[in-house]
């Protein structure tokens, strides 16, 4: 699976956005979204959120797990335990990449968030490498 396809799958997840326009409900094949009212939060799939953000039609609310405190705890859990911990989100890496690249100003302490997620990723990869022999 190439990275573009992995991202394709991750983009199906939903995030909450705060639009700055108004629009009736949109009836997509995959489900309905909306209605959109300026200032009121609404849940949309990630691919739509990124597109709207790029056209400056909304603000993206970071998902709950993308918070510095929670990420710091998670990182500590990963360091303490020799086995993998359940991760906050199945596609945490892709979602973080997408949101941090297009919506940096919507995420509080974006740089810290980026560093923590990268650290968690490194720790988990190191565990994989170390334990590869026991899997085989």
């Amino acid at each position: 699976m190439d990275p573009a396809e992995v991202e394709f799958l991750a983009e199906k997840q939903t995030v909450v956005i705060i639009p700055n326009f108004s629009q009736d409900k949109v009836y997509l094949i995959g489900g309905d979204v909306g209605p959109f009212n300026p200032g009121l939060p609404v849940e949309v799939p990630l691919w739509m959120a990124v597109n709207l953000k790029q056209r400056q039609k909304c603000r993206i609310q970071p998902p709950e797990w993308m918070d510095v405190g929670i990420l710091e705890e998670k990182k500590q859990e990963e360091i303490d335990s020799p086995i993998f911990q359940p991760m906050l989100n199945e596609h945490y890496m892709e979602v973080a990449q997408l949101l941090l690249s297009c919506a940096t100003n919507d995420i509080p302490k974006a740089d810290d968030v980026r560093t923590y997620i990268k650290d968690i990723w490194d720790i988990r990869i190191a565990k994989l490498r170390r334990d590869r022999k026991s899997v085989v």
């Binding site: 394709f8 629009q23 949109v26 997509l28 094949i29 995959g30 489900g31 691919w47 739509m48 597109n51």
Partner: protein, 220 residues
Amino acid sequence: MADENEHEEYDSDEEVEMTAADVLLKLEEAWLNEKFAPELLESKSDLVECMLEQIQQMEENLTRCKKGDFRIIIHRMELDRIKYIITSYLRIRLSKIEKFVHHNLEKELNREDSESSKLSNEEFVYAKQYADNLESHLKSVAIKHMPPNLQNFDKDKTAPRPNLESYIFLKVTEDQEGVMVEEETDEHENEIINLEKGAQHIMRYKPISKLVENGSVSLI
């Protein structure tokens, strides 16, 4: 048009009515399973047809409404995503058909009437034509020029077969008890495991191929 009516009857008589969103989810699952399975899986042509109908309807609607430029963009993006899944799914199937053409045709001709076909009608026609073309091409390019006693070869023995022993990752969607996974030890012990919903495993394809077919596990 007759196909459309047949499709509607099939939907209401044999299956519970599914919303377009459900069909899309099932199609995505079929796409991922097909991508990671070493052999050709059952053809989900009904899902593909249903999605193609939806796409056609949506595109007609979009050409009709000129104003509301904004919504059009969003619908177009979604249509592009769905088209990508469909084309990728069909391409993966075609490449498997071409790679194992003799094996697939043999299986199709030998199957019982009660078993369902892995090739759709169009795919079967394509596979036959491809096999014939390949044979005549090889004959005219290479075999004709070889010594006469080497000119005949047994297609059954030399055809490439999919490697059912290859390892795949899977995720369990429904609890399964007593799945037999044979261990390759000298004593030939049979290992029986229970699969819990939501668990992820890596194992050989062969023992769980039936589970992929009936949807209790999905490949990742």
